[in-house]
């Protein structure tokens, strides 16, 4: 898809937010995903053009970070954390259940383009392990059955809420928020709950602290 003049304008706006325009590349790539559903070649060329860098340099960045997709993703992008904590607490089973339900594997979209699935790395949400994300919104303490239910409801067009509050929109809608975190939606929902703070509370109650630099733990 070619990048519209309006998108180019928004890219320039992002570039103007930084002392070094090049720093805007990460949000700009999210913007490309919000309009094209993936990082397209046109999107890469547009970023290069706006920032005055080469398409190869943009390609380098867009292939380094896994959140940038060089292949089409589904309308809803589903991630399942399979790192140590989530994996042990059921993440692997969640992934398998979803893979079977959707008929796709890692980084593959379904034939109807509705969903795509990805094994993701630790989301720093281990408190609520195992976690799954839908369009990067959290579904905490998920089970295989709950995960499949989320998919079923999305497929039926029902509204699904993240365990932390915000309504699930679409991959492209979330990408737009990632490009413009000041769109008023980024802060929706809870980011910290009681369970997440339990460890900190315990440490404080027991006067625990990190060892000083250079000292053995």
């Amino acid at each position: 898809m070619t990048i519209s003049d309006q998108t180019l304008e928004r890219m320039r706006e992002l570039a103007s937010r930084y002392p070094q325009p090049r720093s805007a590349l990460l949000p700009m790539l999210h913007l490309v995903q919000s309009v094209d559903g993936e990082v397209t070649t046109d999107g890469i060329n547009a970023c290069a053009e706006v920032l005055g860098i080469s398409p190869a340099e943009v390609t380098g960045v867009s292939t380094f970070y896994t959140m940038y997709k060089r292949k089409p993703v589904g309308e809803h992008h589903i991630g399942v954390c399979v790192n140590t904590l989530c994996g042990l607490l059921g993440g692997d089973a969640v992934y398998d259940a979803l893979s079977e339900r959707l008929g796709v594997g890692h980084n593959e979209p379904t034939a109807d383009g509705k969903f795509s699935l990805e094994r993701i790395e630790c989301q720093a949400a281990c408190t609520h392990a195992p976690v799954m994300t839908v369009d990067w919104e959290f579904i905490d303490d998920v089970t295989p059955a709950a995960a499949v239910d989320v998919v079923d409801r999305l497929e039926r067009g029902e509204q699904v809420l993240s365990t932390r509050g915000p309504a699930i929109r679409t991959f492209q809608a979330t990408e737009h928020t990632l490009a413009f975190p000041d769109d008023g939606l980024a802060g929706e929902g809870t980011s910290v709950d009681d369970k997440m703070l339990a460890g900190l509370r315990y440490a404080k109650e027991h006067n625990m602290s990190a060892p000083a630099h250079g000292q053995e733990a």
Binding site: N45, P55, A56, T59, T63, F64
Partner: protein
């Protein structure tokens, strides 16, 4: 420019490396400091001409007081630092061996089928700094192999050690960051954007600095093993940048050419033309002398051909014109200069196979011929300001381009196109219509004039000032009035040497005026002839020479390697050759001239003789003979044979003898011709003005036979401004029509002045002189779409 003689005091620091105390300049990297005491730390990503990146970790050393081993290639030596390398530290040795083991985990170890095998830093350092045995039993990472990062450059990704030398070269040196490290982790790989290949003029350097066999050239891949090659240091024959090259050959055939180290000139780089354009050496040679009989050329023996040539030329004598082209060595050009004056008694000689003007002739006589080295590459690097006139460095002298880029000198180009090359030098355009540079120089903005008045400022005039009335005069006046140094940068490798050898009407060797009695006496004495035997008045040159020959004003032509298509009026040149009663051609390949000649004498290629090119600085770049047992003779040797058949010997004709004569003569110290004083001329005619120059990679005959190189050339296009394109209705193609014809080319929008169209001078798609009959600055028609 005189060398900077003030000694700068460089602060030093004391460091101890492996127990050896030494002082090094402040800012020295540990890896360089270790080299000073003869310790070689293993390295892959380190390259003295690239910014440190510490990407490969092969160079780990122990630095006292630091918790972990440090990369020596990025560690600046500090005062009082104690460093231990693998020579004295188990920690460093262990770290280096560990990194080497990691690097080899995913390395295919396919040395027996790898081009780098035998000259591979990984192979060598795995032996010197690695463990003999691998403990890795897993499956190695593999990739489809190879991928084309360009038509010429191939990449075998599994061999890559991610050192980022190639990507840093492309970005930092060439200014062409079209290759990058893509992906991450074990998948990290060099690659391009999906729709933009690595078509850089300097791409071949990445193959040379890749420390493994990951990057190869299509031209050399799988051709030979390095230990089967014989290497000879040579000088590039393709342009006046003067690169030192290394020519590698096997069984009488050149297999590859590399950039060779020459810190004052090309540093360690060269361009892809110099590196890859050598297939012509092996193809389509003229193998025997040819003599015309009953209208047909037939093979002849050397004695017969020399005899026929001698009789024909002797009969024409002073009514002979001599065209030497711009590619000869200085010694061969000197041979023609001497042969014309001492043997034939003619002064009608010209080395310029390109657009010329009488004004340029006078400029060269007055300001360039025989002048000592003035502006150097180093001077460019130190200059506060450089003004370019009629000169596009990236296309016309690539090492000048690299040097100006490196120096980040302020550059202003007087011209009609703000090229990507100019952009890569951080340069600005001072608008001048093609052919109208003189007017722009006359009305120079005050800030540019002030910039030129700074000590060390330089004006670089390209060969295209000859195609711009008043420009040679204007650059001379400007240099005189601002105190800026002026250098002339010709395009072809042999032009400066030929000029200094006297291969231009009115000039004897060393810049001596033909009409100066003392100069004549000096030259006559060296040549062992009577001063009176030298022609008395300057002969014909440039267009006049050809016009005269085409009108039976001259009765013979002696031509060396001139392709009429390079001349602004190819038809006139062919008419001249057809009209001349007698034509002798010395060449190694057939051309439109040899086809029409009465006698064709085959001569040696650059690989078959020794000689000297003078680069644009005027610096001699001598080179030795690659193929020592070649039976071919240089132009000068053949001319010497004709001379003795005519009965005049006139001194030496062999390369050493000629060098002795040139040294004995030395440069002219007496009065010189005055610089020309031609006024700018207003443009004639209406329509688009034609801007054009020779792109580095084009349809030049010396690039023949190398399709991979040709595929990386810039696609031919007619380039106009956005406004002009809109006026034309932004068609995909346009037809450019000149006095003699039209060409249809893709339309491209660029930073070109309005009412100017850029068309490459001599690409595979179009040649402006031949196809359009137009010269630089000619008014041409540009219409949308194909020819009617």
């Amino acid at each position: 420019m005189t060398e900077n003689t003030t000694t700068e005091i460089v602060p030093t620091v004391s460091v101890t490396i492996d127990g050896v105390a030494l002082q090094v300049p402040k800012g020295t990297l540990a890896i360089r400091a270790a080299e000073m005491i003869g310790v070689e730390i293993p390295r892959f990503c380190d390259h003295p001409l690239l910014e440190p990146v510490a990407a490969c970790r092969a160079c780990l050393i122990e630095v006292e007081g630091m918790p972990k081993p440090q990369p020596a290639c990025a560690q600046v030596v500090g005062e009082g630092m104690t460093i231990r390398t693998q020579q004295s530290s188990e920690v460093a040795k262990d770290a280096q061996e560990g990194v080497m083991e990691f690097l080899l985990i995913n390395h295919p170890l396919d040395c027996p089928v790898c081009d780098k095998g035998g000259e591979c830093p990984l192979q060598n350092q795995a032996m010197s700094a690695g463990r003999g045995e691998s403990r890795f039993e897993g499956e190695k990472r593999t990739f489809d192999k190879p991928i084309n990062v360009s038509a010429q450059i191939l990449l075998d990704r599994e061999r890559c050690v991610s050192c980022a030398r190639c990507t840093r070269f492309a970005d930092q040196i060439a200014g062409d960051p079209m290759i990058e490290l893509l992906e991450r982790g074990a998948q990290q790989q060099v690659g391009t954007a999906s729709d933009e290949p690595f078509d850089s003029y300097f791409s071949g350097n990445t193959v040379q600095i890749c420390p493994v066999g990951a990057l190869t050239s299509a031209a050399y891949r799988f051709r030979s093993r390095p230990f089967d090659l014989v290497s000879v240091p040579t000088t590039c024959e393709h342009c006046a940048s003067g690169c030192s090259l290394r020519t590698d050959y096997r069984r009488g055939v050149v297999t590859r050419r590399l950039a060779w180290d020459s810190p004052e000139v090309n540093e360690e780089w060269n361009c892809d033309k110099g590196r890859f354009a050598f297939a012509y050496l092996a193809e389509g040679r003229i193998t025997t002398p040819l003599v015309r009989e009953d209208g047909e050329l037939r093979p002849a023996s050397w004695p017969e051909a020399i005899d026929v040539a001698a009789r024909g030329l002797a009969a024409a004598g002073s009514r002979t014109g001599v065209l030497t082209g711009g590619r000869l060595t200085q010694e061969d050009a000197y041979g023609y200069a001497k042969f014309a004056r001492a043997v034939l008694g003619t002064d009608s000689i010209d080395f310029r196979a390109r657009a010329t003007s009488p004004e340029e002739t006078q400029f060269l006589r007055a300001a360039v011929a025989g002048a000592p080295i003035g502006v150097t590459y180093t001077a460019l690097e130190q200059a506060p300001f450089v003004l370019l006139v009629g000169f596009e460095p990236e296309d016309e002298s690539p090492i000048v381009f690299l040097r100006l880029r490196k120096a980040r000198t302020r550059v202003v180009s007087v011209g009609a196109v703000a090229t990507r090359g100019l952009d890569k030098m951080g340069g600005e355009l001072l608008a001048a219509l093609p052919g109208q540079e003189a007017a722009a120089l006359r009305d120079l903005p005050a800030d540019i004039r002030a910039a030129l008045e700074q000590p060390g400022a330089v004006i670089l005039a390209g060969e295209r000032i000859a195609a711009s009335a008043g420009a040679p005069s204007a650059v001379s006046t400007l240099a005189a009035s601002t105190g800026a140094a002026l250098a002339w940068v010709p395009r072809r490798a042999g032009e400066r040497g030929a000029l200094d050898a006297g291969a231009l009407a009115g000039l004897l060797p060393g810049g001596r005026p033909l009409i100066d009695a003392q100069a004549r006496a000096q030259v006559a004495a060296i040549w062992g002839i009577d001063t009176a035997a030298l022609p008395g008045l300057p002969g014909l040159s440039g267009d006049d020479l050809l016009t005269s020959a085409s009108r039976v004003g001259l009765s013979a032509l002696l031509v060396a390697g001139v392709d009429p298509v390079d001349l602004p009026d190819p038809a006139l040149a062919l008419r001249a050759v057809d009209t001349a009663a007698f034509v002798v051609a010395l060449d190694h390949h057939h051309s439109a001239v040899t086809e029409r000649a009465d006698v064709v004498l085959p001569v040696a290629l650059v690989t078959e003789k020794s000689g000297t090119f003078l680069d644009w600085e005027g610096r001699p770049r001598p080179f030795g003979q690659v193929f020592k047992d070649a039976l071919t003779m240089s132009d000068a040797t053949v001319l010497g044979m004709i001379a003795s058949a005519i009965g005049t010997s006139a001194g030496a004709w062999d390369v050493n003898g000629i060098r002795r004569e040139l040294t004995a003569l030395g440069p002219w110290q007496g009065a010189r011709a005055v610089v020309p004083g031609v006024q700018p001329q207003a443009a004639a005619g209406a329509g688009f003005r034609l801007a054009s120059w020779r792109e580095l990679l084009d349809a030049g005959v010396l690039q023949e036979g190398e399709p991979f190189l040709a595929a990386t050339a810039r696609p031919s296009a007619a380039i106009v401004s956005a406004a002009a394109a809109a006026r034309l209705g932004s068609p995909a193609t346009v037809t450019v029509t000149g006095p003699a014809g039209s060409v249809t080319l893709p339309l491209e929008v660029g930073a070109v002045l309005d009412d100017v169209v850029f068309v490459p001078m001599h690409s595979s798609e179009c040649s402006i002189y031949r196809d359009l009959g137009a010269r630089i600055g000619t008014a041409v028609d540009v219409t949308a779409g194909g020819a009617a």
